[in-house]
């Protein structure tokens, strides 16, 4: 039995809703009033920004024949990043990046804060999900040949995004500040240090000194919540710009229709 990916449900052509019948006394229905106000606000913004045309261009752009579910992996990775960003912002409200308080504040988030275990769990498991998705997205791009001309630069940006995402994993792993975090970071920093010539200095930079010290945790926290997320957000913007600008590729199993060869007529 061949495994088939289900076809996505396609909506029919959108029909404008029929206008409500005006009431006998000439009053406009509340629903229509609300719709008019909404349209008015959208129109006001659009008149001053031209955003509607831009948004339409993005949302209704042509995609090649054969586009399938594998093409959603990039958006899925983006969604995972946004989920990490949102949950991370809220975790930062309770988290305390000092060596004395970090572990206790994570315990407080997990056990005391309302829905704290849910939000922390989303961030903790979402990190793994993001890594898995980013690799699947990379695999899709590779096996579909979507890294070839003219999309090489987007591949390079994607690889940088992958490295930054792994950096997020590395710096975030320390933050719970339990035994596993601490020793995993000790080992991870020492692995960084085995790079020749620059490695020892890189280790000192990550630890802010020759030993795991008082500012190591806050340094990892700043890198984790400010430096790398800003870089990732900026690079995702460029990544998406190039996707829209260059368009997506057709899957490799689709062949372009070649024009019929001309036959030579003999006279």
């Amino acid at each position: 039995m061949a495994l088939r990916i289900p076809k996505p449900p396609l909506p029919g052509r959108r029909k404008p809703p029929p206008p409500s019948e005006p009431a006998a006394n000439g009053e406009v229905a509340l629903k229509d009033q609300a719709a008019e106000v909404g349209a008015g606000i959208v129109g006001w913004v659009d008149e001053r920004t031209g955003a509607a045309g831009f948004a339409k261009g993005q949302l209704f752009r042509k995609v090649p024949k054969g586009t399938n579910w594998f093409y959603t992996l990039g958006s899925a990775t983006l969604f995972a990043f946004l989920s990490q960003a949102v949950t991370g912002v809220f975790l930062a409200m309770y988290y305390d990046p000092s060596p004395d308080r970090a572990y206790d504040s994570v315990q407080y988030i997990t056990n005391e804060v309302f829905l704290g275990d849910i939000v922390r769990g989303m961030h903790r498991w979402g990190a793994t999900v993001m890594i898995v998705l980013i690799f699947l997205h990379m695999g899709r791009t590779f096996f579909f040949g979507a890294y070839k001309y003219p999309r090489e630069l987007n591949w390079v940006i994607g690889v940088v995004l992958l490295v930054l995402t792994l950096g997020m994993g590395f710096t975030g792993y320390l933050l719970p500040f339990d035994q596993r975090s601490f020793w995993a970071t000790v080992v991870g920093v020492n692995i960084n240090g085995t790079a020749p010539v620059l490695g020892p200095y890189l280790s000192d930079f990550l630890r802010a000194g020759p030993e795991f010290g008082a500012t190591t945790l806050s340094r990892f926290y700043a890198i984790h919540m400010l430096l790398i997320p800003l870089l990732i957000a900026a690079l995702i913007t460029v990544h998406l710009y190039l996707v829209v600008k260059l368009g997506t590729t057709a899957p490799p199993w689709l062949r372009a229709k070649l024009p019929e060869p001309l036959e030579k007529e003999s006279v």
Partner: protein, 244 residues
């Protein structure tokens, strides 16, 4: 020079090298049919000028922007990189009277490697008296072996019956002098300087040793220092120098 800036300012317009004869203020196209009509010279142009007003203002704006950006970015980078270039002080710490230590077995001592990080800043070292059978060329009266594995920094443990240091993470094994007997470590266990003062054995800065137990300034785990390797993993600015 004047002509050069002229062509740069209007790329693709003049088509040629922009070398107009004297007195030609844009009406010379008739003489050369292949040359496009040149734009009139900007106000203030004079024969032999080396820099247009526009080029000066553009350059000035870029320079001002560059200086302003550097004024913000350079201190920020220096701020983040500062600890890489600062040598850290390591205070000598008492670990007990000399009578506490023997020369044929190790005594574990705990002391603070790093202050202000609570329990995480404490570390364990194994200390014994210098033993003539084990230690040649060891100047200190006491030998203090660091528990930081030379593979990736896990804490090793002295297993008395086996007379070995054993690392729980990846199976590194060291003999009684801290030299590698098996597993992935790339050099012997680090040591600490020791001295006796006011009737107390004191532990000082960390140093690393190569496979001949020759002293080097402290390296991080995973960094071999035998032969040419010591040039690939040079001394860092954050640790004190150690001689021979």
């Amino acid at each position: 020079m004047a002509d050069h800036t002229e062509t740069e300012r209007r790329p693709g317009k003049t088509g040629g090298d922009g070398n107009f004869p004297a007195g030609d203020r844009g009406d010379g196209a008739g003489r050369d049919a292949t040359r496009r009509l040149a734009k009139p010279k900007p106000p203030g142009y004079f024969e032999g000028e080396t820099m247009t007003r526009r080029a000066l203002v553009t350059g000035g704006a870029l320079a001002a922007g560059g200086i302003a950006s550097a004024a913000i970015v350079l201190p920020a980078i220096g701020f983040a990189l500062g600890p890489v270039f600062e040598e850290e002080d390591f205070p000598w710490q008492d670990v007990g009277p000399p009578g506490r230590f023997v020369d044929d077995n190790y005594t574990p001592v705990t002391f603070s490697m790093v202050t202000d990080v609570g329990e995480a800043g404490k570390t364990l070292a194994y200390v014994r008296r210098r033993n003539p059978d084990l230690d040649e060329n060891v100047p200190d009266e006491f030998v203090a072996i660091s528990t930081r594995c030379a593979h990736l920094g896990c804490p090793v443990r002295w297993v008395g019956p086996a007379q070995r240091f054993v690392c729980p993470c990846h199976g590194g094994v060291y003999d009684a002098r801290g030299q590698v007997e098996g597993g992935p470590p790339v050099r012997p266990l680090d040591r600490f300087k020791t001295r006796v003062q006011n009737g107390q054995v004191q532990i000082g800065p960390r140093y690393s040793v190569n496979s001949d137990l020759k002293r080097f300034s402290a390296r991080d785990p995973g960094q071999p220092i035998d032969g040419l390797w010591k040039y690939l993993y040079p001394k860092r600015f954050t640790v004190p120098s150690v001689s021979g």
